[in-house]
Structures are given as C-alpha cells and as structure tokens.
C-alpha cells in the first residue's frame, strides 16, 4: 500500500498536478478570504474563518475530482492496470494507496491556510478573540469532507476509462452527497422523515462539527461513508469486468 501511495504521490509531484492544485486552491481561497469585498474577512467585521469553511467545500467539489479522475481511468486506458494487478499487491493495497495519495495532496493544500487562523487571531479586537475550538472542529470537518470527496472521486474513476467522464461524475456525486440531500429534504413530500434525509448528507454533519463540538456520531458518519465508497471501488476493481 505504502509503495502505491508513494508512487502516486510522486507522480503528482512530477506532473505539476500537485503544484497546480495547491496553487489554485490557495489563490482562490486567499482571494475570497482577503480581497473580494463580498466575502472578505476584513470587510466582514467578525474575526472568524467562516469564508474558508463555507466556500472551501465548493472549491473542493471541482478540485478533488480533478485530482482523483486519473487514478484508475488513466491506468486502465494505458493498460498499466494489468501491470499493477499482476504484481503481488492486494486490491485493497491499490485502492487505499491511490485514495491516500489524493487525500494527502488535499491535506497539503489545506495546511497553509492555518496561517489565516493566526492572522485573524492577531487582527481580532482584542487580539486573540477567535473561536479556537470552532476552528479546530471546522478543520476536522473539512479534512473529513475532503476524505469523502476523494473516495467518491476514486469510485468515479474506477468505473470508467475516460477521465472526463470520471471528473464530471465525481463532481456531481460530491455535490449530491454534500448538499444534495439537504436540498432534497426541503421537498414537501417527506413529512416526518425530513431530518433523516438531511442526516444522509454531509452538510448536516459538517455544520455540526464546525460549531466546535466533535461528536463521535458525525465522525462515524464521515468515516463510514468514505469506507463504503472505497469498498465499492475495491469491488469494482475485483470484478475486473473491463
């Protein structure tokens, strides 16, 4: 698994993907946080990082599928899947290695935003007036969310050999699990099941975490959705139905 992970991560670094992803994410988020008046912390007047945590997921919906789309689709197209599958690796080694490489890259993009925390902390009046537990909870939430998005992207990539199809499918599925359930629950047909539908989506759990309360139920939700997605990819890989 580690070997697949290293190889995947190295190929991100060697092919500019890593730099583009980190660069675009930080530029985009940086502009939203500090420059554009509509979302800028400086104009907002409150010392919090809501801009990052509320807009970050939408940036991820486009960015993460772009990272994951090649993972299986490219290998399948170029035939290297055959190479990998005839090496002494289990299917789990391959799926987890690829998933962790993508996840790690997203985390690397996220880490520099910790500077924002210290900036806002210093800018607060009085200095240090920031909801630290809320920020920590939000970071945990956004990291877990990125994990789900990566696993969804891996599934999308494992069912097709076309990278564009993988990208679009992954973006759509990420959107669906992120806020789709929330939107569906607003339909006036669920009567008492509204809350249940809402709880199926990420947004419900993500908002709970961003309040700073790391509830085990929310964490279990994130982990189990991610695990389910990876199980699906592994099953698709084992079926070798291409």
């Amino acid at each position: 698994m580690i070997r697949v992970l290293t190889k995947e991560f190295n190929s991100f670094l060697n092919s500019l993907i890593a730099y583009v992803v980190i660069g675009v994410f930080l530029t985009g988020i940086g502009l939203l946080m500090w420059v554009f008046p509509e979302t800028s912390v400086l104009d907002y007047g409150y010392a919090d990082m809501d801009t990052l945590f509320s807009l970050g997921p939408y940036v991820f919906i486009f960015l993460i599928p772009a990272i994951t789309m090649r993972s299986f689709a490219e290998e399948r197209k170029s035939g290297t899947m055959e190479l990998l599958l005839t090496k002494p690796l289990t299917d789990w080694d391959i799926v987890l290695g690829k998933f962790l490489a993508c996840f790690l890259l997203v985390l690397f993009a996220l880490i520099p935003t910790i500077i924002y925390y210290f900036s806002i902390r210093a800018l607060g009046n009085p200095a240090g007036n920031i909801d630290t537990p809320g920020v920590i909870g939000s970071y945990v939430g956004i990291a877990l969310l990125a994990g789900i998005f990566c696993s969804v992207g891996i599934v999308a990539s494992s069912i097709t050999s076309n990278q564009i199809v993988a990208f679009i499918l992954a973006a759509f599925l990420c959107f669906l699990v992120f806020s789709g359930f929330e939107s569906i629950s607003t339909l006036n047909v669920w009567s008492s099941n509204t809350l249940f539908i809402k709880q199926l989506g990420i947004l419900y759990h993500y908002e709970a975490l961003s309040k700073g309360l790391i509830d085990s139920r929310d964490v279990i939700y994130f982990v189990s959705v991610g695990a389910l997605m990876l199980l699906i990819s592994k099953t698709i890989l084992s079926a070798r139905s291409w």
């Binding site: 070997r3 060697n14 170029s78 035939g79 055959e82 190479l83 599958l85 090496k87």
Partner: protein, 321 residues
C-alpha cells in the same frame, strides 16, 4: 486431431505450470475451451496460435489478472484463485502491449517495480543495476520511458518482469512490432535469461519457436490442438518430407505410385510430380532406379522439408473444416 504427448508425466511438485480443464467464457463466447497442459520446471515452451486463439487469455489467467470461469491453474504449486499473491510473487509477466508508466525514468520505474516485490535498499539497487546491464539498457537508463524506442521499451518490460528473479516467466508476444534486428536481440536476451527458469512465451511466428525452444503448445479457437516437441510435431505430421521429381518423357502417377515406399503422388505439371514417401523412408534411390530402368532422364530430384508454416497452417486450419 490432437497431438498430445502422453508420456510426459512427472510429479506435480516439479511442475511450474499446471492447467487443468481451463475454461474462460466471455458472454456466450468461449475464449478458452477446456484446455489442459503442464509445463515442467526449467522448460521453455512456445505458445502458438493465430490471433484471437486464446493465448493471451490463458496467460492472463495464469498471472492472476483474469479469473477463470472454471478449471484449475497453478503456478509453481500455488493455485491462482486461492493463493494469488504467492503466484504473483513467483511469476514475471510481460503483458501483450507492454504497458509502462511512460512518465517515469527507466531507473525510477525499475525501482518502483522492485519495491512492489518487497525489495529494499542495497539489494534493490543491485538488482536494478543488474537488470539494466542484462537487458542492455545502460545507455538509456537515465531517460524517460516515453522517449525510448519500441525495442528499448520492450527491454524495460523484460527487465521489470525479471527484477525479482522469478521462477516462472510469462511473456505475451515479446517480439511483436519490433524490427528484425530487435527481434533477434530480444530473442537472444530471452535465451540468455531462460537458464534455470521456466519460460512460457506466446507468438504467432513459427521461426521464433524453433529459435528458442523445443516444445510447442498450439491452440486454436480456444482449443488445444497440439502439445509436443517440435521434432515430434514434424514427424507426426508425416507428409512433411516430400520429393519433387521431374522427368523427361511420359510418366504417369500410377507408375510412380508403384515405387516401393511411396505413399502418395501428386502431379504438379506435365511430368513433374510431388512424391510423398512413407514416414521415415528415403525413396530417392528408388526413384532414380525407376527412371534408369525405364531409360527416362531424371531432370530434377529435390527433397523438401515440411516448413513450420505448413504445420502451423495445417494444425490451425483443421478446426475450421
């Protein structure tokens, strides 16, 4: 007709590859239909058949890439479905189109593959250097794979299949698409490395088989049509040796058929005949005497060995009839 050497038996422990009643079905199409054969340790076996005969499918099953529909395949004593990891550890595989991570450097690629087989540190470095040397990649070793020519890519493919010193080497059409010089180089490379290894390679070029190995397995349309040594195959095909005789004067087929040891006579042109002798009989002296007795001039007498192509064509055509 099946030409199966029944005398070839040995203990199962000694077998590098055992295929038993292998069946692979894609939908209603049988890619491999009930094939059984065994390969002993240390043998080089040519796997022969026209395109789409099921060679690649059989190899893919033996390497654990594709699961069989039914039947058993074991490599070096490990079953491919029950112990896939063990099988993959002891086999080196060069897939048909030689897929490579083209964005990697040759060295980097070989190291990656070596690591997948659990090699580390100094041992890995030594092995990579050894492979670069063995496969003639010394000049190209610091280039990106995408910049290499087809022949060199094939060498990289071979190097990755060999890096862990596998007991069984499975090569799927290792020389396709190469120019004649490269074909010779790759062949001699295979010959070199095949010492104390079991090598199974597929091809549809007959010369390759005679150049590399003495045992041939021929499959056609998913069926095993021959499994024998090359010389046995030539002999058992019987009519492989023939004489072309040309006379001055009138000779009939019936007269020639009367010669002792002649099996069949075919008229090619006016007084030019192809004579098939009975197996193992040299009828040339008899034909000469025949001409002398009748005061005919013998203009030409030429013996023709059955070509490998003919055997191949005959074996693979029979299924269609």
């Amino acid at each position: 007709m099946r030409v199966v050497d029944k005398a070839r038996k040995g203990s199962l422990q000694n077998m590098s590859l055992v295929v038993k009643n292998l069946l692979k079905q894609y939908g209603s199409q049988k890619a491999v239909n009930n094939i059984s054969f065994q390969v002993e340790a240390g043998e080089i076996v040519g796997f022969l058949g026209p395109n789409g005969a099921g060679k690649s499918t059989t190899m893919k099953i033996a390497t654990g890439y594709v699961p069989p529909t039914s039947g058993e395949v074991s490599v070096a004593g490990f079953d491919v479905t029950a112990q896939p990891l063990e099988v993959k550890k002891v086999t080196g595989y060069l897939p048909e189109h030689n897929p490579l991570y083209t964005d990697m450097f040759v060295h980097e690629y070989l190291q990656f593959i070596g690591k997948l087989y659990g090699m580390t540190g100094k041992h890995l470095k030594e092995r990579v250097a050894e492979m670069v040397d063995l496969c003639g990649l010394t000049v190209e070793q610091n280039k990106k794979i995408e910049t290499l020519s087809k022949g060199y890519r094939q060498r990289v493919g071979l190097a990755q299949a060999l890096i862990h010193n596998p007991k069984v080497l499975i090569l799927d059409e290792p020389t396709t698409g190469l120019d004649p010089n490269q074909i010779l180089e790759i062949r001699s490379l295979i010959k070199n490395i095949s010492k104390n290894k079991t090598v199974i390679f597929s091809t549809h070029i007959m010369q390759e088989v005679s150049a590399l190995c003495d045992r041939v397995i021929v499959i056609n349309k998913g069926e095993l049509v021959a499994d024998d040594s090359l010389s046995n195959l030539m002999r058992s095909q019987g009519k492989q040796v023939s004489l072309i005789a040309e006379f001055e004067g009138v000779v009939t087929e019936a007269q020639l058929s009367g010669i002792e040891g002649v099996e069949k006579v075919v008229k090619l042109e006016q007084s030019k005949f192809r004579i098939y002798p009975k197996t193992g009989v040299d009828v040339r002296p008899e034909v000469f005497r025949f001409a002398a007795d009748r005061k005919l001039s013998l203009l030409g007498l030429r013996q023709e060995e059955g070509s490998l192509e003919n055997i191949f064509r005959e074996l693979t055509a029979k299924q269609e009839a």
